[in-house]
Structure formats: C-alpha cells, structure tokens
Symmetry: C2
Subunit: 168 residues, 2 copies
C-alpha cells in the first residue's frame, strides 16, 4: 500500500469524528457466504427505496458485488461488538459467521437474526471511484428487531448512544 | 409528494436505527451562501481523499452542487443542535447562517468555526439516482477543533455519544 498523502491523513483523522452506526454487509454468491463490517453506508432515496454502500477494491465482498450479487445490510445492536470484530478481523469467509445468530433469507442471503434492522437489497447500480466502488441497493425487504440501541463507531472505538439532547 | 410505498415506509423506520453524526453541508454559488443539515454522508476513498453526499433534488443545495459548486462538510459538535435545527428548518438562504459561528474559507465557502471537523471539498463527480444526486467531493483541506464529541441523530432525536463498549 502506498503512503497516504497529508490530506488523506487529515481526512482519516477527521472521519474519526463522523460517528456512525456499524453495519455488517452480507451476500451469497456461487454458494459462498460473505460478511464484512462497515460504516460507509448511506440512505439514498425513498423512491425507489434505496441505500448505498462503499466497498474497497481489496475487500472480499468486492468481487461478488461487482458481479451483481444482491446483498443485505444489517445494523448491529450495541451488544454486537463481537459480531463487528469477527467481520472485520482476520477471519475470512465462513469463519466470520461463527459469531452471531445468522439465518438465510428466502433468496439465500445471510442476515443477522437479531440485527437492529436488516435491509435486503437488490444490487441495481454502481459507480467506481478511486480505490472504491459505490454500490446502490434497492431495498426489497426490511426486518426490525428490538428497541433502538445501535452499536456506534467513533474515535476508533465502539460506543452506545448517550443522553438525548434537546434542541434549545 | 406522492405516497411512499410500504417498503419505503419500512426503510424509513429501519433508518432510524442507522445512527449518524449530523453534518451541515455548505457552499457559495453566484455570491449566495447555502447550508443544509444532513446525515447522508459517507467516507469514500483515501486515494484520492474523498467523501460523498446524497442530495435531494428538492433541496436548495441541489442546484448549486449540480452546477459544480465546491462545498464544505462540517461535522457538528454535540452542542450544535441549534445549528442543525437552523439548517433544517423553515429558514432559508442567509437566515440559516444566523445561528452558529460561520467564517469563510479562502475560496469563500462558509465553514463552521467550531465544527468537530470541516472538510473542504472540490466537486469532482456525481451520479443521479431516484430522487437524489450522489455528489463526490475530493477533500482538499481539513479543519479540526476540540475533542471528540459529535452530535448524533437516531430514532428521530439528537444524542451525544454514550459509554464506550469494549470488545468481548
């Protein structure tokens, strides 16, 4: 990997302040299951209902998603830091599914049974930029469980939601 | 506005769990200043250093950004709920800058002086999808202030970061 520019280093430092819910993106392709913890996810449009994810070319999910695999975006619960760790560490492929309670959708896509929310997405469009691919998913099905308590990543660590703030 | 489909309604419900730092996106175009609170922001690539924002066609920022205006993404501090409210409420144009401490960059783009981080972006690429436009900004300058304490939006409300969670 080449050295990052000074602007890239500053961007990385600044992004530690862009707190985000942690998700695990999953798919099944050619019979194999894939999972990756991520925060580069954004809501996109309500018509059609859609969201986007940004995937590094070096990620194992890049090949199946570039070949059009549908995918699931699972928002982790604050108790799921172990799932996030399993899906972002050294474990690869099936080993990532040893942590957490995974079930298959009708289409065979893995989803986390007790995720805060799971969005089952059809892979409908994409755009390459720099080291990454922006993949657009049209949301076809949504699963919700439990009350709102997402796992948050900021400043290089995991957090739970804190106190509510009222608008002054 | 047409009625949302049942999947869109479920997506909206699920997205309440995708906790996110609140940012204010700003630009100057034809001498006018624009500001909009948003959460549809994502890191994209480190080479080149870049991020993306998703802008509704109905937003006032849509026209200047579609015409290539450069922009600034300001991550709000937990004390900035008033700035978020001013930049997402009925106030339009200059009135949005009456709340918060705004200064101009050398290029004339407004930035929030005490934002957690401000990313000054060159408007380099875009893609339209559904009701929105994905705009890619190449980050040219980064400003950081204070310690890490972002304003978070989840479940329709503002929060501060809570307790850190250690990986078990």
């Amino acid at each position: 990997m080449s050295e990052l520019s000074s602007v890239a280093l500053s961007l990385r430092e600044g992004l530690r302040r862009l707190a985000k819910a942690v998700v695990v993106i999953t798919c099944r392709h050619d019979g194999q299951r894939y999972a990756m913890a991520a925060t580069a996810v954004s809501e996109l449009s309500m018509e059609p209902p859609s969201l986007l994810i940004c995937i590094n070319r070096s990620a194992s999910l890049h090949a199946p998603l570039s070949q059009g695999a549908d995918f699931c975006v699972n928002i982790l619960h604050s108790m799921h830091s172990d799932v996030s760790a399993a899906c972002s560490g050294k474990a690869r492929g099936e080993a990532r599914f040893e942590t957490g309670s995974w079930i298959d959708t009708e289409e065979g896509c893995p989803r986390l049974a007790d995720a805060q929310a799971s969005f089952l997405c059809r892979n409908v469009d994409a755009m390459d930029y720099g080291t990454h691919r922006i993949v657009i998913g049209q949301v076809e099905q949504v699963f919700l469980t439990g009350t709102v308590s997402p796992l948050i990543y900021a400043d290089g660590r995991y957090f739970e939601l804190g106190n509510p703030i009222s608008v002054t």
